[in-house]
Symmetry: C2
Subunit: 209 residues, 2 copies
Amino acid sequence: MSGVRSKGDQAETAADTGGDRRLRADAKRSIDALMQAAREVFASSGVDATVREIAERAGVGMGTLYRHFPQRADLITAVLHSEMDACSDAAATLAAKHPPFEALAAWMQRYADLVGTKRGLAKALNSGDPVFEGLLTRFEERLRPAVRPLFAAAIVAGEIEPDTDADEILCAVSSLCMSAYDAKPEHARRMVALFIDGLRRPVKGSSSH
Amino acid sequence: MSGVRSKGDQAETAADTGGDRRLRADAKRSIDALMQAAREVFASSGVDATVREIAERAGVGMGTLYRHFPQRADLITAVLHSEMDACSDAAATLAAKHPPFEALAAWMQRYADLVGTKRGLAKALNSGDPVFEGLLTRFEERLRPAVRPLFAAAIVAGEIEPDTDADEILCAVSSLCMSAYDAKPEHARRMVALFIDGLRRPVKGSSSH
DNA sequence: ACCTGAACACCGTTCAAGT
DNA sequence: ACCTGAACACCGTTCAAGT
């Protein structure tokens, strides 16, 4: 009986983002390759892509895929979680690199891409399978807190109206992309840009001569 | 070269309702059996039911199924068309048998059942496959005209407000059933009944003593 | 502990063979 | 002209065999 680390040892489904929980090196490599391959294949062939296609592209056998992702749905879930997290993380990065309004606008484009892509995937999600439990939850719980500071900064800088409702904007942008994104991604992006630009108002300090 | 009947000979997909367009007796029997079997199987096992299961229940071979319905989706479409038509036809029947308001209320229950059932099927429809072309069109174009007389009659009889919007009611009832029907059909029916009852107002003639 | 790939069960669809 | 059912291609998933 080695006393330390007694419970929480059975994390069957591969970790979400790139979780490295005491895996052997080859295992971690397999998981990374699979998720990368899934990302690419889902992007090019859509959600209906075959597990075989993914395994082949990742350069691993079928058994390896199923060892880390017991069901096809688990791979989809993992990929979506990872993409959502990446989008959330982009908020801080953009905030550090750009002035408030530009950061907000840039992140919205990032978000538009995510939703546009997710729509292809979401089709399978809305099928009601409980396998996809907590995906929308994560969507709301990680993305919203991430974007709030962007709005706050733009408001403090006086670049958008102080009563701008972040949730409303997020909702508008996503529904805007849901409908038309995969037909004309460029068109969707342009509409998002127009929409976000409409929020802008002249900065206080610079316009008073 | 037999001169008569030169064009329009290639009606591949089996007719919609029970279309008897110069089929041999056994062919018609097969089609009827298949549609009836599909109706039952879809109702009990959902839209994901197997073609094999349907063929077996209908007592025909796989080839027979595919002779009349070249794709699985064609069977679904045919069944839905048939159920929509049946629901439309029920309007006239009910109008003949009941007083205006009762006919309207009864038809709404019929409609609730259709939508509740259709929801299970519609899941597959919203997949975007162009195979299901024109299903919603038919839904709107046959059902709405069928129900309009029911509203008109109830309005003339003074049993509901004259400005009642039929489309609004249809929309409300269907969205009411979309969400909760297959979990609790009885509950959905009760809510529809309550809703429709709310439209009623005291009849002019009888309340003036 | 992890990987591989042939094998399994099952699906939609086809087609040679019958009447 | 219509029917039958074995056969095909393909899918998600499993498992004995390897290192």
